[in-house]
Each structure stands twice: as structure tokens, then as C-alpha cells.
């Protein structure tokens, strides 16, 4: 379990939990970051912030302060069945 902002480039993990509800979280959800999805941290901007991640097959940039509350499990692999309609 780790904050997305602390995951180093090249590492990936599965979203466990999102933070408090609000405008920012809504935007995060709408961009496809939901519990169970796999996120790969691609790179960190040269000045240390923001970071670039890969999610659902596309690339997204997000500030570290904005992904503080996104909790990632680096061990866990994306559960395939989780992505299917139950």
C-alpha cells in the first residue's frame, strides 16, 4: 500500500482507494482512475512534479499533490474478473 505520489517511475500497481469526495476526486474518477484499475507511473517531470501515468491505455499527467490520496497496491495485479460485468 502506497500513495500514488510516492510510486517511483517504472512501477505499477492497482488502485485500492480514492480520497475524499469533491471536485478533484470527480475529475480523477472521470479520467478513469477507479478502484481496481492498474496504474503505471511512467515518468516524473524534470523539476520533480507533476508525474506522468498510464491508465486504461492512455497517458495522463497529474500533480503529486493531486494524487496524494490515491492509494495504490504495488503487489496486487489488476484483477481480471473485477473488470468484467458481474
Amino acid at each position: 500500500m502506497n500513495k500514488l505520489s510516492n510510486v517511483s517511475p517504472g512501477h505499477s500497481g492497482v488502485v485500492i482507494k480514492l480520497g475524499k469526495s469533491g471536485k478533484l476526486r470527480r475529475k480523477i474518477i472521470d479520467m478513469g482512475i477507479t478502484p481496481g484499475t492498474k496504474i503505471t507511473v511512467l515518468s516524473v517531470a524534470p523539476l520533480g512534479d507533476p508525474i506522468k501515468i498510464e491508465i486504461r491505455g492512455y497517458e495522463l499527467s497529474i500533480r503529486k499533490s493531486e494524487c496524494q490520496e490515491i492509494i495504490i497496491d504495488e503487489e496486487k495485479e489488476a484483477i481480471k474478473s473485477n473488470n468484467e460485468l458481474n
Partner: protein, 703 residues
């Protein structure tokens, strides 16, 4: 739109339908283009309507609603191009615009354009659009790129699963568009219902709760259109939508109880459950209908470029090199060569010929003066700078189309954040070097109001391309061997003043909550020659049009005012004219800047109409025959430091009327607009005076 269309199983309805079909043949329909940012809506719009709207490669190029007529004889329709949205819960002003249009204006048909290379996230919006009572077609775009990636989509299966018509297209290459129009025509003329509401996106429990809430909405507010959409938004506690309904306490309680029937825990609250089920629905559909034929290479070209473009040690040097290259190509030897050629053509070929013809025709002195001074020399002096303006514009367009802009925003975000801005501000700021007006409108991609206002406030300090003729004229006259470096310093000064301004106002005028920088990074694309040509051609047309209208108009007015005295008799010495009289009244203010000359004051004033007018006015007022002569007169009328001070003033003072009105439109506040004008004048005067005074002081020590 009426909902009775849904129930056409009884015979009376079908009879009505036949009559309706007849009426529908001649109707002009309203078709809205809806989709994620950067999914190709404007490219499709241009294809369908034959227009030339601005397209680029970053999310948020289109910030305004644009309307055009469909070029097709089988179907009469108005196409509306809307700003891109990721979801129907909007954040930024242009996203609100799109949602309001779809939910309130009820177009006859929505073409939901999705990027096939990024189908999962694109379909998220689709699942929301399917909740509306509106016909829709899913246009799956960029299938040519998808093919190259070795991916295959089973469109028939996708159509069957989603219950809405699916048409694969390639908007940039023009493929599949006939099919798309045929499908639209079929739906609109035959009144086929192409709603996606039959789909059970959510689990049974939530579906039944949604149905119950929509029943409440229908009974309580008499809303029958889009009630499923509203019901879901109420479940999500969408603030804007819930505030639209005035339920009584009893109904409110009923709705609250329904909401509570959805089991939640500390990870999955209602908002997340709804989004999660949408994505699960999408994933299951994608899994069945898409196939990866060839396994993708580990690193795509985009990733390889990004290693350098956003790399720790390479990104900033690359950025600096790119900016220097743009600058060097525009103002260095290449740009200069084109400028000299243009000058020659205008003076030698066009100017001389016109003069000869007029003399041959026996034109009077004053009419000869009007045509030669105002039209040929005045406007001609501006047009000779067109090549360099175009080079600058073309290079910026190249960067815009390539996808580099969002990388630069990514690299610059942290620096800009320190100035109270966001990385997204970078794109409109860079566009400001082309023209302030689209840059100011383009700042709408910034969701945060404070950031957006600050960006707009700073854009005028990014020296626009219309100011380049002034710099070129002065730099080539006064610093013939150091032109490039002098102009470069002017640009840098503009940026420094913007940074200073940001520091001054970030904790006072533009104080507020911090912005976000959640931004999609599009894949790199090699800019299409067609698109590049389109940008350049538009700018040329715009430039010539301005030269022929506002700039010519201003020059003719100036010519008139400088050729007649207050008794309206023609004077050969313009220092006795009405204009000189008025100009002399104001010019003493500029003594401290070193250019207290009525001709300078008048030129600066015409610069408010269009910046290029400064050059045409000067050419006219300093009565020059051609550019070489103008340079000669200028070097005799200005000291070197006064020339520098003048360039600084032009860089920083109030932008043209078009830009000011754009600023006013975006601020929506007269007070703030007037403040920005006063601030610009103050800063321009301050820096111009400092330049002259310090320059003169240093100059006095150098023998």
C-alpha cells in the same frame, strides 16, 4: 423532440409517422458533435461542413460552440462543433457549455465521436450520453491509426452490445464519412429511435432505483425529457443538477431513502460505484469486441520521443533549443531573406508601376500623395513583413499540431505553479506569440478561474506577431549587425515582465484555491501538411484583409489629418497639420522616454487599432519613399536609446482593440479590463523611461 416517438407500435402513430417523414424530408436538422477532447471533432466538422476551423493536437483546442451547414444534398442539417468533454459532470466553462447544449437545446442527433485508440475512456462519456433522450450515432474515429497499432474492433458486435448505430471513420483521411451521413439521414428522415437507454449499464438494484427516481422526477417536476440522465445525476449528488429541482421535503426524503438502498462502504461510495459500474460495463464490451492482432512493440514512437521531451536532463535544453530555433528561423537570415525580397517586390515592382501609371494619367498632387503615401508606402511597409509573421506562425502551428505543447506544459508546470499559474497556462501563453486573440480565448482550457484570469492578464506581454514589423524596422535601422539579439532581448523582456506581474498579483488580485493539472497527453503526430497550410493560409488571408481594411483605413485617416491644417487646406509640411497640433499636445509626456515627437505619439495611437499600423503610420508621417529611406530618417530622429525605449513601449503597452475586447469578453468585468489597460500603460511607460534613462546614462560613460 417529443417522447411520443417512443411508442409507435399503435397504428395511428404509424400513420402519423408517414406524414412526419414527408415533412422531415425538407427539415433542417440540428446535429451536435460530442466527444472527448482531442478526439477529432473539429477535423470531422471541417470535413462535413467544408469549413476551416482551427485544429491542433492538445486537449481543448475548441473552446467555443461553432456552427456550420452540412455539405450534402441528401440531408439538410446544421452541424454544431462543441468543446470536448470527458464526462457530463463539467468543470471548466467550455465543458459547461457543451453539457448545457446537449441537455437543454436537445439536438435532433448527437454524433458521439470517439478515439478508437483510446476506446475505454472515450466510451465512458458514451455511457452518459446514452442516458439522454436523444438520438445518437457512435463515430469510431482514427481507425487508420488503430490499424497501424494492430488492433481490430468488431463494429457489428459493438453496435449490438451498445444498442446505438456504430460507424467507423477516419476524419483526417476522410474515410467512412459517406456512411456516417447516410446513417444520420436514415435516422433523421425515418424517425428511427437510436437512443441507448435500453442498455442495462448498472446492476439490477441501481437500475431499479434509477427508474424510481425518474418516476419521481416525471410526477413531481413534469420533466419527461432526459429524466434518466437527471436521475443518475441526482444519485451522484451533482450539485448543479440537484439545485434545479425544487422537491418538497417529503419527496426529498423519499429520494434520500432510495439513495440509501445502495450499499456503500468506505472505499465504494455512490459516486464511485456509479463510475465503477460504467467502467465495468465498458470493459466487458471492449473485451468482447476488440482484439489485439499483432502484439505491440514495447515502446511506441511517442514513448521514445517522450524519453527526450520530458526527460530529466534533456527536456529543458530541448525546450530552449526549440524556442531558439523558432526565433532564429523567423528573425535570422532565413526570415530576413524573405523580408528583403518582399520589400523589393512591393517597392520596385508594384510601387513604381503604380506611380508611373498615375503620373501618366495626370493625377493631381493630392491624389498621387494619397495613393502613394497612404496606400503603397503605408500599407506596403506592413505587408513586407508578412513573410516573417508567417514563418513564426507556421512554426508555432507545427508545434501545436505535433503534440509537443502538452509536453511543454508538463515540463513547465512546476515553475508556472510557483507563479500562481498552471502548466495549462503555458499553451495559451505560447500561442500569445502568434496572436493574443485566440490565445485569450484558448485560456478557457484552464478550469480554475483564478489561473485563467491571471493567464489572460499576462498574455498581452507575450509579444504578438503583429508587433514584429515594429521591432524589425527599428532593429534593422539602429542595430543592423545585432538585429536578432536585440529582438530576442525584447521578447525576453516581455516574458520577464509577465513573471514580475505574476509575482505582484498572485497573492492579491488573483488569489484563490490552487488549480489542478490533470491533463491527457496526446500521442505525437507528424503535423499534416494540409493542416499546416490551412493555418498559414488563414493567417495570410487575415493579414491581407487587415492590411486592406483597418490598416489602410487608419493610414488614410492619418494621411488626411497630416495633409490638411485646421482650415482644411492642403499642406505640404505636415508639421502644420491638425494631427501635428494634436500630437504636440500629448508628446511632452514622452520626453522622459526620449521620443517626444508628435509623429511617434500618433503612430502609437494607431497601434491600438492594429499593431502593424505603427509601421504604416511612421512610413507615412516620416514621409519616406521606401523602407531604406524610412530607416535613414528614423536614425536621424531617434537616439539609439530612444529607439530601444520605443520598442519596449510597443512591447508592453495596451494590445489592439480586438485583444482588449477579447479580454473584456473573458473577464466579464469592465473594472478588471480597465485595470489591465491602465496597468499595461503604466508598465510600458515605466520600462520605456527606465530603458531610455539608464541607456543614456551608460552611454554618457562610453566615449
Amino acid at each position: 423532440m417529443n417522447l411520443t416517438k417512443n411508442k409507435y407500435n399503435d397504428s395511428v402513430q404509424s400513420q402519423n409517422k408517414i406524414i412526419d417523414i414527408h415533412q422531415n424530408q425538407n427539415k433542417t436538422f440540428k446535429i451536435g458533435l460530442v466527444g472527448n477532447p482531442n478526439s477529432g471533432k473539429t477535423t470531422l466538422f471541417n470535413r462535413l461542413t467544408g469549413s476551416n476551423q482551427y485544429v491542433g493536437n492538445w486537449p481543448g483546442v475548441t473552446v467555443e460552440k461553432k456552427e456550420g451547414t452540412l455539405k450534402n444534398h441528401n440531408l439538410s442539417a446544421n452541424i454544431i462543433d462543441l468543446p470536448g468533454i470527458y464526462s457530463l459532470s463539467p468543470y471548466s466553462p467550455e465543458e459547461v457549455l457543451t453539457r448545457d447544449f446537449i441537455a437543454n437545446d436537445c439536438p435532433d442527433l448527437i454524433i458521439n465521436i470517439i478515439d478508437s485508440t483510446n476506446i475505454e475512456r472515450n466510451l465512458y462519456l458514451t455511457t452518459q450520453l446514452m442516458e439522454l433522450d436523444c438520438n445518437m450515432i457512435l463515430a469510431v474515429n482514427m481507425i487508420d491509426i488503430l490499424e497501424k497499432k494492430g488492433k481490430v474492433i468488431n463494429y457489428d458486435l459493438l453496435e449490438k452490445k451498445l444498442n446505438v448505430p456504430v460507424v467507423p471513420i477516419s476524419a483526417s483521411k476522410g474515410g467512412g464519412l459517406d456512411k456516417l451521413i447516410d446513417k444520420a439521414s436514415e435516422i433523421l428522415h425515418n424517425q428511427i429511435i437510436a437512443f441507448g437507454q435500453k442498455n442495462k449499464i448498472f446492476c439490477l438494484n441501481i437500475e431499479s432505483i434509477i427508474n424510481k427516481i425518474s418516476d419521481i422526477i416525471e410526477k413531481d417536476s413534469n420533466i419527461i425529457i432526459n429524466k434518466r440522465f437527471y436521475a443518475v445525476k441526482i444519485l451522484e449528488d451533482d450539485f448543479i443538477i440537484t439545485s434545479k429541482f425544487n422537491f418538497d421535503t417529503k419527496t426529498k426524503e423519499k429520494i434520500e431513502n432510495l439513495k440509501k438502498q445502495i450499499p456503500t462502504d468506505d472505499i465504494f461510495d455512490r459516486e464511485i460505484i456509479i463510475a465503477d459500474q460504467r467502467y465495468k460495463y465498458i470493459c466487458s464490451i471492449c473485451k468482447q469486441s476488440t482484439k489485439q492482432k499483432i502484439t505491440r512493440k514495447k515502446k511506441s514512437l511517442s514513448n521514445k520521443i517522450d524519453v527526450i521531451a520530458t526527460g530529466k536532463f534533456t527536456s529543458i535544453p530541448l525546450f530552449v533549443i526549440l524556442m531558439l530555433a523558432v526565433f532564429y528561423i523567423t528573425f535570422g537570415p532565413i526570415g530576413n531573406y524573405f523580408k528583403i525580397s518582399a520589400e523589393n517586390i512591393i517597392n520596385v515592382y508594384i510601387g513604381q508601376k503604380i506611380e508611373n501609371i498615375l503620373i501618366f494619367l495626370g493625377a493631381s498632387d493630392w491624389s498621387l500623395s494619397l495613393v502613394m503615401d497612404a496606400a503603397v508606402r503605408g500599407v506596403g511597409s506592413v505587408i513586407s513583413f508578412l513573410p516573417q509573421v508567417l514563418i513564426l506562425y507556421g512554426l508555432l502551428s507545427f508545434l501545436e499540431d505535433s503534440g509537443y505543447m502538452s509536453r511543454a506544459a508538463f515540463v513547465m508546470d512546476k515553475l508556472l505553479k510557483k507563479l500562481g499559474l498552471s502548466g495549462k497556462s503555458f499553451i495559451p501563453l505560447l500561442m500569445g506569440f502568434g496572436c493574443s486573440v485566440p490565445a485569450i480565448l484558448g485560456s478557457r482550457i484552464i478550469e480554475n478561474k483564478k489561473d485563467r484570469f491571471m493567464t489572460i492578464f499576462l498574455i498581452p506581454f507575450m509579444s504578438c506577431s503583429a508587433k514584429t514589423p515594429v521591432y524589425l524596422l527599428f532593429a534593422s535601422s539602429f542595430f543592423p549587425y545585432h538585429q536578432t539579439i536585440v529582438i530576442f532581448s525584447i521578447y525576453i523582456l516581455g516574458i520577464l515582465v509577465a513573471i514580475l506581474t505574476a509575482y505582484i498579483f498572485k497573492d492579491s488580485l488573483f488569489k484563490g484555491e490552487n488549480s489542478t493539472f490533470i491533463m491527457e497527453m496526446p500521442e505525437y503526430k507528424f503535423p499534416s501538411a494540409k493542416n499546416l497550410w490551412l493555418h498559414i493560409w488563414q493567417k495570410t488571408k487575415d493579414f491581407i484583409e487587415r492590411a486592406g481594411t483597418v490598416i489602410l483605413g487608419a493610414t488614410v485617416i492619418i494621411w488626411f489629418l497630416e495633409s490638411f491644417d485646421k482650415n482644411f487646406s492642403f499642406v505640404s509640411d505636415s508639421s502644420k497639420s491638425i494631427l501635428a497640433l494634436a500630437g504636440n499636445f500629448v508628446s511632452p509626456i514622452f520626453t522622459v522616454c526620449g521620443f517626444a515627437d508628435w509623429r511617434v505619439v500618433v503612430s502609437l495611437l494607431t497601434g491600438l487599432i492594429a499593431k502593424e499600423s505603427i509601421v504604416s503610420s511612421m512610413a507615412l508621417l516620416y514621409a519616406s519613399d521606401n523602407a531604406q529611406h524610412l530607416s535613414y530618417i528614423l536614425t536621424n530622429s531617434f537616439s539609439i536609446y530612444a529607439a530601444l525605449a520605443f520598442m519596449v513601449f510597443v512591447l508592453l503597452y495596451t494590445p489592439c482593440v480586438a485583444a482588449v475586447s477579447a479580454i473584456y469578453k473573458e473577464f466579464g468585468s469592465l473594472k478588471l479590463t480597465v485595470f489591465s489597460i491602465i496597468y499595461q500603460l503604466f508598465i510600458a511607460f515605466l520600462f520605456s523611461a527606465l530603458t531610455f534613462q539608464i541607456g543614456t546614462l551608460i552611454g554618457s560613460f562610453i566615449p
